[in-house]
Subunit: 294 residues, 4 copies
């Protein structure tokens, strides 16, 4: 029996109602990467979905170097905060093919609440440098009282101020650069949202997700803000319904959620293909609604 | 009897008219600086008013090192663009007292128009880094058609977004820093105005001025923008009437107009007192009016 | 009689040895803060020493608002990563006096080793923006093979390149600003060390500490780098012996270790006094030695 | 027969000598640009060589819009500081082809000396933000006494610290970004040289040039510093002999010397081809020599 069946009929923010009674959500996601390693290095991948307590996950992951699968014994899975899963190993020169796929049936419980997170996610971070934004954010949003109004205003403000322009930002650009440039991709939108929210005292963080319906399809990044006692997703790009996002990694900003980190050596990412679908129609989304990643 | 009483009531933009009979403006300005020189250096002062063609200027300038006046033969006056006057000399350790005073009767002709200025003052500069603002300025002001509307909008936008907070900015802060901090002094206001105007294709530059009525009294800095075929002053701080500003130095930003530059050595500015008065009542100013520095 | 006199002469790196009989170190530390609260706010303090497993800690902590002690029931202690302890509460306007003191007998076990830390502390952070330094660090230090050599070189490079100048940096300055300015305080030294180490693939983080022998006495900040399988302290300021440092908070940079954070309201820190002493002579320190915080 | 063969063998620094009989240098330079104009705009070109007093210049310049030559009456030549020549006109949508060629026989007199330049070119500018470098430059070069030694040291320091990497920098990057990235193109090399020289009190500016022998052939940018009473060229890229550089535009940094500036509209530069040759062998260059652009 699905979770929704247990809740009163008038529950407004029903997570992804399609029609009325709905089936259990089923999501299929995956990623294929083709990486050229030109100097030996240590790689870290964050492409596997976070633990989904309450849902059922089936997944597969394979790393093939120069045509030969790397034994799983040589791949370490490091578990970080929020259930982040890092797959890491050393590699020599050559061509690396990465295949990940997962099927998630049902939705997970909402993100757990921890006191320390409310402190950590008010702090300025590398790409969401909230301490630079205190003056600007206070002028623009400072007289809005409650955090759910702030969430909606900041989200629509960022959404209308920025243009979505692939290739418009550098990897080392932060939220201040994005504000001035007036353009970015999902990462830039999310960093600006997060920096502004923190600057007006709303804890906010970044989540990398699989995003059914996202176009162009790619790894997606959204904000997650602490509003009304819950972590709520905020996506100023409006590129995908928030109800079917599937959490990969959670952290302060893109420094914590990179799908691929390379230490020491030298690599080229030849190709990357991401897939994410939901069984049945995509959920309908509307900006006024408060939604949690599940 | 006040100055305003002497002119016909409907003559609102009195000081931008030429060729009409009107009361002659008389301004007295001056500056006293007390500088500790702790290592031998070359100093540059830009405290003398620019040439005022059409007006009558009487002035005096003295540099006293350790109680002894530096002979004028040892002080070079370098003439820069726009009539900027730099007084420069080498000094040893000791205490330097600087006294400048000028009386200006009448008003000068408006700033001359040169083609090259319209090009130069669209360029980004050290503290008015317009190239960082293209996206932001286009979103905020981009659909305003004419430059006189832009002048008024940018001026009031900056004036309402920033708080005037003495000590709120570093000497190396530029317009982007000021925008984010939401606070600054006259220099920061002017740099932000200039950067935004240039970013929407209005040539704009910085002018250091003596500003009768300014409170707190100090060297003042304002923007000057090319609007409707003239250089018009824009002062988002609204600290002093624009009609009685007296031009000192003109340039791209504060890098060109510093009242005191120190090369090589080491100095402390112990004290600085600026005076600026206009004979009779202060002119009345209103934001809608286009005013030139004269 | 001094502590050094009691131990065999050849035991140079005394404090990093475990399992040998040695004099027990006794440290007394404390802090008094006087804070003016001008608008109601939530405060967070990180002034209490971290848990010291293996040592004996006696401590006291009191918050007095307008002459009346805040009941401990109203003060929450939030426990963060690495045993960081945040004391937080809401306050109205008024004068807040904070008193903390602790006596630590013996030394704690070295910082525990966790896989995730080796990943987290390679990432760029707000004030140790390692991603900006890849090119610079590779040129300056890139051909040094092992991490203990890197630790020594980076530490002495930063120590000789920077001048210790109180008041030389802004709260929003990061390691790049400090490198260019050529000056900073302990926070700036530590951020630059950390950014450079991360940029050459040595995991590094910031630790706020009580520092017996530090002059001027204040909360001190040092780097901690993962070298030869241990977290080793690196203090390019050389202001205090590393052997008697006492850990308060550990994190990515000063954003994680601030002794006082203010959310929402408005405060002034009227006064702050820090004390830190070690019973007997101060340990002797030398740059070649690898030392852990204990 | 090559040029070198015609002169006595021991005349090494041939082109910096004045008053000796020598072969007349003949340079042929040119540029072809293909620009797509997607929204009406005002364009500014700085591709014509600066006036060459003492040499003989033959040149041609044509702008062809959608297959039809723009009458020269519609193209204004604005004359800026240092003889900079800006060709400007309004254009509608379409395809613009630009052809410039010049033949210069003989060498011009060295750049004239003006007091104001020695002041202007010590100031920080948009991309050569010398005020950020005071601390760093003083530590790295501060104890070098004379400006010719500084010129050589700064030039070779920058040349060995940076990697020449096409595409490595953004148009809005300044010297500080280049220092940290450790990479750039000619513009970045020149900006870093200029910022460092100004920071140690050597006046320095940027010159865009045609550079016979440069590989890859393109518009080139070099520094020009005031050393031993003359403006001397400094090119840390060492991509072309300094003796045969041909001056186009001179200014504070790339903001003053852009080959193409676009105001208001929207353009794409489809293609650009630059040619620059010297009749006979290329001059030989060596870092120790002081060379002026002529």
């Amino acid at each position: 029996m699905g979770r929704e069946a247990r809740v009163p009929k008038k529950a407004r923010s029903l997570f992804s109602r399609i029609g009325k009674k709905r089936a259990v959500m089923k999501r299929d996601v995956g990623a294929e990467l083709d990486v050229e390693i030109t100097a030996p290095t240590t790689l870290e991948f964050q492409i596997a979905v976070a633990p989904q307590p309450g849902a059922e996950v089936t997944e597969s992951l394979a790393f093939v170097l120069n045509g030969k699968e790397i034994p799983l014994a040589d791949v370490r899975e490091i578990s970080g905060d929020h259930g982040n899963r890092i797959h890491t190993f050393d590699v020599k020169e050559g061509n690396l093919k990465v295949s990940y796929s997962a099927t998630v049936v049902g939705q997970s419980e909402p993100a757990p609440l921890r006191d320390i997170d409310l402190s950590t996610y008010l702090r300025p971070s590398r790409y969401a440098e909230a301490d630079k934004f205190f003056g600007f954010a206070a002028t623009e949003f400072g007289d809005l009282a409650d955090s759910s109004t702030l969430l909606e205003k900041v989200s629509s403000w960022v959404g209308t101020r920025l243009s979505y322009v692939p290739g418009s930002s550098d990897p080392i650009d932060g939220a201040a650069d994005t504000l001035l440039a007036g353009a970015g991709v999902c990462r830039g939108y999310a960093h600006l949202v997060i920096a502004l929210l923190r600057a007006v005292n709303v804890p906010a963080r970044l989540v990398s997700v699989y995003a059914p319906g996202c176009h162009p399809m790619d790894f997606h990044a959204v904000g997650e803000a602490f509003v009304d006692g819950q972590w709520r997703v905020v996506d100023a790009t409006c590129l995908a319904p928030r109800q079917s996002l599937l959490r990969i990694a959670t952290g302060r900003d893109a420094a914590d959620t990179a799908c691929l980190d390379n230490h020491k050596g030298s690599i080229n990412l030849n190709n990357m293909t991401v897939t994410a679908t939901v069984d049945g129609d995509l959920p309908r989304d509307s900006l006024e609604e408060l939604v949690s990643i599940r």
